[in-house]
């Protein structure tokens, strides 16, 4: 097994041009799961912030820049990545920091996805090298850009299978002045999803909805300027009065709770395979039951379910046909693919795109089908 660490785009391009065997693409190596040895290309040496303009809410960074470094710099200016990328390092037992390139390559979006958007909604521009060594740029560093096709979205969530990103430009947002969390206790799954739906159907701008199965507690986050937060929390309490016991987490307790959640903390003690299922919220409870999760939690208004099953379980066989998709984030299997297989027509289009960008099948082959 050999490890290549290109230091710039030219270097990366040369490596891919001359590559004659498949390569595994790595950022901080905190998200991927693999067993076989392979040549690795890591972006670790392409690191550093290229430009940060707080007044324009934009940052440009090389893809190997550690997420921790970026978040620290943003915090200094009172800003943040509003899509609060989840971190898998703790679950996978990896050291080191996730990279910004890895965050976007895996479209890693956290609880605020329902209100602020996904990682893909914040990525403004990319520079990447495709499987043939071509350096390609797309998008830019401005908020609104419809110039040509949106390859930015295509690259986001492509898990390194279409090209290796060398630089990303993305939107930042001011961090809220105050965060509070309304907690409702002793709800069953169906009550929790109903309450989430009610909260998000209101105009009170709830920015996170999480139900923990183990404690039967529902967490609803409200953020913004102080006056506004207290007004909205009060309004929400009245709206959700029928659900019984209520508690409000203050700012610090709230930040701690939502930060823990970014590490998928409710599943940290579990040893099985970890899956993430996206469905429409009203299908959440039934999906959870069919999945037969030992433990887990609901995010995204009930439409995102994280859960664990015994290692090697074919979760999709349990789920049968459903509207949505299931992805295994921890665990390996020879027979059960990590990503939900696409319907035939979509699979054909995806395959066609891979052929265009990586005709020799060098980049993470087989990972996404």
């Amino acid at each position: 097994m050999s490890l290549f660490q290109p230091t710039d785009e030219q270097d990366l391009s040369d490596m891919l041009r001359s590559a004659d065997a498949p390569v595994r693409v790595l950022g901080g190596d905190t998200r991927g799961e693999y067993s076989d040895p392979a040549t690795q290309i890591s972006t670790a040496k392409m690191s550093g912030i290229v430009d940060y303009v707080p007044g324009a809410l934009t940052m440009i960074a090389k893809s190997g820049t550690p997420l921790s470094e970026i978040e620290a710099l943003l915090a200094k200016e009172g800003q943040q990545l509003a899509f609060e990328p989840y971190r898998l390092g703790a679950l996978l037992g990896r050291k080191g920091s996730s990279t910004i390139g890895g965050v976007f390559a895996t479209n890693a979006s956290g609880s605020r996805r329902i209100q602020a958007g996904a990682a893909r909604d914040f990525l403004l521009g990319v520079r990447f090298v495709d499987g043939e060594g071509h350096l390609i740029k797309n998008g830019g560093r401005v908020m609104k850009n419809v110039t040509g096709y949106d390859l930015v979205k295509l690259m986001c969530g492509s898990w390194g299978t279409l090209g290796i990103m060398s630089e990303v430009a993305f939107k930042t947002l001011p961090a809220p002045e105050l965060t509070q969390t309304l907690v409702l206790h002793q709800l069953d799954h169906a009550q929790a999803v109903a309450a989430m739906s009610q909260a998000l159907g209101s105009s009170y701008e709830v920015s996170g909805t999480v139900y923990l199965c183990a404690t039967q507690s529902l967490y609803l986050r409200v953020e913004g300027f102080s006056n506004s937060v207290s007004y909205r929390v009060t309004a929400l309490r009245a709206l959700l009065g029928e659900y019984g016991e209520q508690e409000v987490l203050d700012h610090d307790a709230s930040l701690a709770f939502w930060s823990d959640l970014r590490d998928v903390s409710p599943l940290k003690e579990d040893k099985g395979d970890i899956w993430r299922i996206s469905v429409q919220p009203s299908d959440g409870v039934e999906t959870f039951e069919r999945a037969g999760f030992r433990t887990g939690f609901y995010d995204w208004s009930g439409g995102l379910i994280w859960g664990s099953v015994a290692a090697g379980t074919d979760l999709r066989a349990r789920l049968g046909h459903f509207e949505g998709h299931a992805t295994r984030l921890r665990g390996l299997s020879e027979t059960v693919p990590k990503f939900q297989p696409q319907p035939e027509a979509l699979a054909r289009l995806s395959q066609g795109l891979r052929k265009q960008f990586d005709p020799r099948g060098l980049l993470n082959p087989g990972l996404m089908g």
């Binding site: 303009v53 707080p54 007044g55 324009a56 809410l57 934009t58 479209n107 979006s109 958007g117 893909r120 495709d130 071509h134 350096l135 797309n138 830019g140 560093r141 401005v142 908020m143 609104k144 850009n145 419809v146 110039t147 040509g148 096709y149 949106d150 390859l151 979205k153 295509l154 986001c156 969530g157 492509s158 279409l162 947002l173 001011p174 739906s197 998000l200 105009s203 300027f225 006056n227 506004s228 007004y231 996206s278 469905v279 429409q280 919220p281 009203s282 208004s301 509207e323 949505g324 998709h325 992805t327 696409q342 319907p343 699979a347 289009l349 995806s350 795109l353 052929k355 265009q356 996404m368």
Partner: protein, 484 residues
């Protein structure tokens, strides 16, 4: 602006093509009469016109598929059309093409308030999507200026924005799924009522592809609960620079207005004379709108005013009620009409980093002197999406060409300062030939390779988006197919 030469062999086969389409489509869905075809000769970029060979207006996805299958088999180019409101010439026909329009597909298929989405046929207008859910106090967020007329199909093709996308995002951020019919007539469902993709983000790729990858016939759109209320404040400044700096400070302060609109002096004067909005006679004007409960609105407006005060505004006018708000918006909303009354105008759409606003506005002023044409600026300042309106006289020999040359210089300037050619209108034919200023050959090649996957023969809207010489080889392959 050049268009490729029409293929005379295809035009000569008009009756055959018509007969094949008529055999599978309802009689009233095909337009072949020369006079009636005139209605489809252009979109809102009306300086360019060309009646198509035929127009098809299907009522179902299956009919769209049937029409595409035949055009594909006969190797006839297709130009998709929504409501025909593109400012970029996205729906401009060629003489040898069949226009397939979704204007008769306007049904709401499903509205789901628990899961917060609506599923519609894409011929439905933008505003009528919001209207359909308004009774339940929901709305569809993207709001292009043409929202009364423009169709969701076109919104998806161009990834349309609007004044309120500073807070709510553009079309692609509010689109959850589509039914796409590819050139071969295959019906493909992408995404749905759930979030994000199981694999590659094909939905993100389709949105903004200007009708070159397929025809979108149905869409699942995210809907949001209406805010309790909204009110703007109007702030006047004695220079563009100061107004630009104020925009940047507001954004940085953590207030997230739903809209920050900017007008410069020529625009202020024209719109005020036209609409009687009562705007102050100053150099630059901002309209900043916030949302929330009464108390939240008041709190946010006060924060904004406090920031503005540090920039010595010449006027601050806070809307106290809906009537005040309407008066403040009146001028802005009639800006294009007002400029149109003075003269013909061309509307540009470049985006720049917000921090470059003062420099770019000064430079546009200098260029205006050089080219001898007046320009007014009205735009979405919060996200740097500019709309310079260049005034010209279409009846004056050569003035359209001068105007286009001036426009091209402005767009190149946008690219030079780190921005882009188009923020929300799309490339179409209007910015097609400038693409090589923003993209390298490899960049363009990567995008064209995507079209090769969806539409290998380049039959769908092939003369748009990419400079003709860049796409020539691929389009000539088409001519070869036709000859076979």
């Amino acid at each position: 602006m050049q268009m490729p030469k029409a293929d005379l062999a295809i035009i000569a086969r008009k009756s055959e093509i018509l007969a094949r389409l008529a055999a599978v489509l309802p009689q009233d869905s095909i337009i072949s009469d020369t006079g009636e075809l005139r209605a489809y000769e252009c979109d809102a970029l009306s300086a360019y016109r060309c009646p198509p060979l035929l127009v098809v207006l299907p009522k179902t996805t299956e009919e769209v598929a049937a029409a595409l299958r035949i055009c594909n088999e006969l190797r006839v180019p297709v130009v998709p059309r929504g409501a025909g409101t593109s400012l970029a010439g996205g729906a401009l026909p060629t003489a040898d093409c069949v226009v397939i329009g979704v204007a008769r597909m306007t049904e709401v298929l499903e509205a789901d308030y628990d899961n917060r989405y609506i599923r519609v046929q894409t011929g439905r207008t933008n505003l009528s999507v919001s209207d359909a859910v308004s009774e339940h106090d929901f709305f569809y967020a993207p709001d292009p200026s043409s929202q009364l007329a423009c169709a969701i199909a076109g919104n998806i093709a161009m990834n349309s924005g609007g004044a309120h996308c500073l807070k709510y995002g553009v079309t692609s951020n509010n689109l959850m799924g589509v039914t796409l019919v590819t050139m071969t007539g295959e019906i493909v469902k992408v995404g749905g009522a759930y979030l994000d993709s199981e694999g590659l983000d094909l939905l993100g790729l389709i949105c903004g592809s200007e009708g070159q990858l397929g025809i979108v016939t149905e869409a699942t759109l995210r809907i949001l609960p209406k805010p309790e209320g909204a009110r703007p404040v109007l702030i006047g400044f004695d220079s563009n620079e100061v107004a630009g700096a104020c925009v940047s400070d507001i954004i940085k302060a953590g207030v997230l207005p739903v809209a920050i609109e900017f007008m410069d002096r020529p625009c202020i004067r024209a719109t005020d004379a036209f609409s009687g909005a009562g705007y102050p006679d100053c150099m630059a004007l901002l309209i900043v709108e916030v949302e929330g409960s009464e108390a939240e609105i008041e709190d946010q407006l006060n924060r904004i005013i406090q920031i503005a005060e540090s920039h010595d505004p010449v006027e601050v006018r806070k809307a106290r009620d809906a009537q005040d708000a309407a008066r403040i918006w009146l001028g802005r909303k009639s800006a294009f009409g007002a400029m149109g009354q003075i003269n013909d105008y061309m509307c540009l759409d470049g985006t720049i980093p917000v921090t470059e606003l003062p420099f770019v506005l000064r430079r546009i002023g200098e260029l205006s002197q050089e080219f001898g044409l007046d320009v007014g600026n009205v735009f979405h300042a919060g996200d740097g999406n500019m709309h310079p309106l260049i005034l010209y006289n279409a009846n004056k020999e050569g003035e359209l060409e001068t105007c286009e040359a001036f426009g091209a210089e402005i767009l190149k300037l946008c690219v030079e300062v780190g921005g882009c050619l188009t923020g929300e209108h799309g490339v179409g034919i209007e910015k097609r030939d400038l693409m090589s200023h923003q993209f390298s050959q490899d960049d363009l090649e990567a995008q064209m390779r995507v079209k090769d996957v969806f539409d290998p023969a380049w039959l769908l809207n092939g003369a748009k988006v990419f400079p003709l010489e860049a796409s020539e080889r691929r389009r000539l392959d088409l001519a070869r197919y036709a000859a076979e």
